[in-house]
Amino acid sequence: MPDHVRLELILISILLPVVALFAFWYVPLSIDEPQGFGSDSEVSPRFAPYLLAILMAAAMIGRLLQLGVYKVRGMLETLPDDLEEIGSVEETKRGLVLNVVTSIYGFFLIPFIGFYAASFALVAYLVNRLGERRLWFIGLIGVGCILFTYLLFDELLNVRLPRGAIASFFKG
């Protein structure tokens, strides 16, 4: 069996239970049936999520059946490989680290130290990580970036970007 077909099977074997969990556990838990206004509505608010979950499962089961037919006919090797362009394992690992970095920026740094300080930290870290070694240049790009954002959003558009919890702490 080709690697890409094996990976596809693994993917479906993970996604199918996730969809089942969504339909049987999450939807009843998170969407209440209306009690007052709208309770006599023709369609329940759960209708769309259930329908979508059924269609998702049907798409995956259909694919499993299709793969089964291909296997019986001995044609699995002829299936096109769509995983060719997804990059090497090293690249994926680097991508994961970068996702963690941007998540820290969005979820912790901005709410805590504010947009400008967080953005300076992110730009400085990423520019350095991506290969720039001159410290003065890294600092210059960080300052240039936040200056541009400040002039555009705070001054020109009157959008006050978040100052963070620290600023409110010092303000008392």
Partner: protein, 508 residues
């Protein structure tokens, strides 16, 4: 006739021309910044129009709206970061063209298609506003449901090599599209307790995350050596830097079809330029003799969404001018600017006070001309900006994307959504799921669900539910047109299969 001439004269004063120019320049520059939508740029300018004459202030707004629609395509093509959601479909073929060194050609095609779409819908607006608006008013929830369901069906099946992945991505997008309050009962669905989610997932954070952040993360994975170069290299071959007459002629049928589609969609209240762009792209791909070129750098793939999304801008004014009903938020903003000036659009305005309306119509056409001229300048500036090495540009793009997402609702939650969707988009790309069906599913699902629920409620309240649908001439006509399209597609598939079989036999 006198009032038409008086209106044209008003629009050709230096104040009015200057206002259109300022609007276009500001719109093009602001539109190129991710997160700042055409609507937002227009909204920012409205308070200032109060101090201007109507034939100065309104043309400025129109210029800004048109300029920002084109400006957003530049970043969509060169850095895969649409400035506004309306340019999201332009990414699909614009970015691959830029990767082939043909970024300038793609930008110029986007410019010509934008101006073409704009001019097309403006002419339709000027000569056929009342007629088209009366047709558009026949569209009810049943017709919207049919239109959107058909678009989703075709999209799911033509999205990529593996149909199940395209369908799954589309359904996932639709699932994300229903997060928020139920459209009929207003009970929260899948909000996970976040108040911010009750409004639904914002389109801006979603698009910025999926298209810009996911792509930047994907490219930052590459070895450092590759990141020392610029994002886009431009081919030195003059043929790759301009749109030849032959190429323009080849794209012309697509532009006419997409502009018509954009005009029709724009005349329908509630459907945005983003939807029109995706529908036009979908249709251009579906009807192409070589659909396999789409997604890999087909000029038609740039021309279709660009002419459609710009055609919406003029067509949005059709119901506004004819009946005083704004077609979308941008038209509502222009309506508010008109009301500030003491002008109430509607059928009587053509009789009682037509000069400002004809001045606005002239300004629309002037704005297209200036957009064409100034657009070339913007492309030159953009060429210089994207010449910056990736290791500098990418972190800056992330920061601007975060600021742009925040600007819309002033919520840190939207910044977090940007990075969450960036992660999701990156993960889906790693598993070779197409992201376009997901975005289309997300955009169309709220329209589909709302109209389906409303039409079912209406149908349920009459003795013969089926009769409700089939007694509507617009519904029956639409159904017949769609059935005809399905038959034509199947006929073409059969013909292609027969041709392939014949070629196989011939070669064998």
């Amino acid at each position: 006739m006198d009032s038409i001439l008086a209106g044209v004269q008003l629009a050709l004063t230096w104040q009015s021309i200057g206002a259109v120019l300022i609007g276009i320049i500001a719109g093009q520059l602001l539109g190129a910044i991710p997160g700042l939508t055409a609507t937002m740029t227009v909204a920012l300018l409205i308070p200032y129009t109060y101090y201007l004459e109507p034939w100065v202030g309104i043309p400025m707004l129109i210029g800004m709206f048109k300029g920002s629609l084109f400006g957003s395509s530049i970043t969509a093509i060169l850095v895969k970061t649409p400035g506004t959601p309306a340019a999201a479909a332009t990414v699909l073929d614009g970015y691959p063209l830029a990767q082939q060194g043909k970024g300038e050609k793609a930008c110029k095609m986007a410019l010509y298609a934008s101006v073409f779409g704009d001019s097309f819908s403006d002419i339709v607006l000027i000569f056929g506003a009342a007629f088209l608006a009366s047709i558009a008013l026949n569209f009810g929830p049943a017709e919207y449901t049919l239109l959107v369901a058909f678009s989703l069906l075709t999209m799911g099946f033509v999205s990529g090599a593996k149909i199940w992945k395209g369908l799954f991505a589309m359904l996932l997008g639709m699932m994300l599209g229903i997060v928020g309050l139920d459209p009929v009962t207003a009970s929260p669905r899948m909000t996970m307790g976040f108040l911010e989610m009750e409004e639904g997932i914002g389109l801006i954070p979603m698009l910025i995350g999926f298209l810009a952040v996911a792509e930047v993360l994907r490219q930052m994975e590459y070895p450092r050596k590759q990141l020392a170069t610029s994002t886009v290299t431009f081919s030195a071959d003059p043929a790759d830097r301009r749109v030849s007459w032959a190429e323009f002629k080849r794209c012309l049928p697509v532009m006419i079809k997409s502009s018509s589609l954009g005009t029709a969609v724009g005349a329908l209240p509630g459907i945005s330029a983003t939807v029109a762009a995706f529908l036009a792209y979908n249709e251009a791909k579906r009807s192409s003799k070589t659909p396999e070129r789409f997604g890999k750098g087909a000029l038609e793939g740039v021309a279709a969404p660009e002419s459609a999304n710009n055609a919406v801008s003029g067509a949005n004014l059709i119901p506004l001018m004819a009946f005083g009903i704004p077609g979308d938020i941008a038209a509502a903003l222009i309506l508010s600017a008109l009301l500030i000036q003491g002008i109430t659009p509607g059928p009587v305005i053509f009789r009682d006070n037509p000069e400002p309306i004809y001045a606005i119509f002239t300004a629309l056409l002037l704005a297209n001309l200036f957009n064409l001229i100034l657009g070339h300048g913007l492309i030159k500036v953009a060429r210089k900006v994207v010449g910056v090495p990736k290791r500098i540009l990418f972190p800056v793009v992330l920061v601007i994307a975060a600021a742009g997402a925040y600007a819309m609702r002033g919520s840190v939650f939207d910044i977090q959504l940007v990075f969450l969707f960036g992660l999701l988009g990156w993960a889906l790309t790693k598993m070779a799921f197409p992201t376009v069906p997901l975005l289309i599913g997300f955009i169309l699902m709220p329209i589909l669900e709302y109209n389906l629920r409303i039409s079912m409620l209406i149908a349920g309240s009459v003795p013969n539910p089926l009769g409700y649908f089939f007694a509507r001439p617009a519904f029956v006509t639409l159904l017949a047109v769609m059935a005809l399209m399905v038959v034509l597609v199947f006929k073409r598939i059969l013909r292609d299969k027969q041709a392939a079989r014949a070629a196989g036999l011939g070669s064998g």
